[in-house]
Symmetry: C3
Subunit: 205 residues, 3 copies
């Protein structure tokens, strides 16, 4: 247990919470893509807007770090956590953009399951951010995110096996794979957020 | 030279040694794949089992980190080294799984040489872990792993040139490439382990 | 503001400057590839030579870190910055090598714009390294590099859309894409250098 004799700037908790809320919103927009009638150009555009707002929160976090004397935990960990949350959003944005950019019809195999996992990981992450204040019950959060990432890994490999099963030509495999891979990267990025939270908890405990 | 006035928990050395031993075992199982008569489903399954055991050591390392007051070197470096050792195993497991999952016949170009390098890097890593205790003779280890990684880079690029030589159709190139790329990633991950060890040695010297 | 009561080793600034100068030279050699009459084997060879010299600077930085008691900023940040500068060079070397190795005719879509961005990012980075001494005017540098990386992202995605437009067969798409992707990785690596500089500035301010 660490005792702080000086007040720390607690605004960082709010900033992490806002980043995570953007991830929840981004993951929710991805579910719109499951609708066969979705206007993908428009959904991709809305995901990009959320990505820009998430970027702004990240920059605000870095600016505050520049002007704050006492931080609630290591400056570098604040920096890394902000960056990792931002990475998730970038991956989700790229996946939505590829679906639109490559004019993909239907959905690549595994994508609905991946988007479902992303929604769950986003909700867990958003629920965990406020708990950074007292570093409690964070174990459950990162164990569960690690479990989701393992599930994601299985979905990803089964998607690849399907893509290479002979049912698709090579150019189609490449295009569909890009989407599947970006969603898999987003799930991995959620795990990296959880790992950073775990490291912070290790240090502060 | 750093003097510790309090006893430190030396169990971490054993844990790193156990992780590295799992890498030696994983690399040895990969050599079984060089046998034309190998049951690849079974080898992939055995690699996965080693990967699970390696995961358990990683988790034990993190749990111990949570409950240990004085560590032999920076908490964060322990965390990073444990993670990097785990990454090697994940890459090797993925390579074995792709060979099986994609029902690849024969072996992609360069794979026997890559597996040979992995065996050497694993042996060097396992021999280096106990030397973390006194931080001696680690230079040779990381210089040699860096040299292996450079060799691996050459093998990787020659494999790609062969794959794109016109002898393979596009879907086959993609499938074979995934295996070659995962093995290359494993060699890179061994280098990252060596780089973390180097950084630890820099700090502690 | 941090006051150092003991003299620090300022040679690190020179070493970072030399690494960055190699990146400027590497990016300049890439522009030679835009010439339709270029001997690509020879250009790739010259880029490899610059890469070797850059490697030597990186190793000298690490050796000096081993033998220096007081460093101008965190040892680990020196290590990471040296590594990140080295990564840019590796990515540029790989791109030049693929162009030659795959016997690509002409240039993949977007490559001239990417090489132009790399030249700008290299110049900005080389100009920023000396400013690490007083940590001033670094904001402009990383904001501008982040802007270039965003531009690079747009170029990259337009290249992919062109590659998948139906004008190229699958094997050609794969070969051209490797070049485009390595150049995109080089731009991303420049951003990572800028992010590390930003983190150093955050800590030292």
């Amino acid at each position: 247990m660490r005792f702080n004799l000086l007040p720390t700037d607690t605004a960082f908790y709010d900033l992490f919470g806002r980043s995570a809320d953007h991830l929840v919103e981004g993951a929710r927009l991805l579910t719109d893509l499951l609708d066969p009638g979705a206007d993908r150009a428009e959904v991709a555009e809305r995901v990009r807007e959320v990505e820009h707002r998430c970027d702004e929160v990240t920059h605000e976090t870095v600016r505050r770090l520049n002007s704050t004397f006492i931080t609630p935990f290591d400056r570098e960990d604040i920096y890394r956590l902000a960056g990792a949350l931002d990475d998730v959003m970038d991956d989700m944005e790229a996946a939505a953009d590829y679906l639109h950019l490559y004019r993909i019809e239907g959905l690549p195999p595994g994508v609905p399951e991946q988007i479902d996992l992303l929604g769950k990981a986003a909700a867990l992450t958003a629920a965990a951010m406020p708990r950074l204040r007292d570093m409690r019950e964070l174990d459950e959060y990162w164990i569960e995110v690690n479990r989701l990432e393992n599930l994601g890994d299985g979905i990803y490999r089964r998607s690849l096996a399907t893509l290479f099963s002979g049912a698709y030509d090579a150019l189609t495999v490449m295009r569909l794979r890009d989407v599947v891979e970006q969603l898999e990267a987003a799930i991995d990025s959620f795990e990296r957020v959880a790992n950073i939270v775990e490291q912070i908890a290790v240090k502060e405990s």
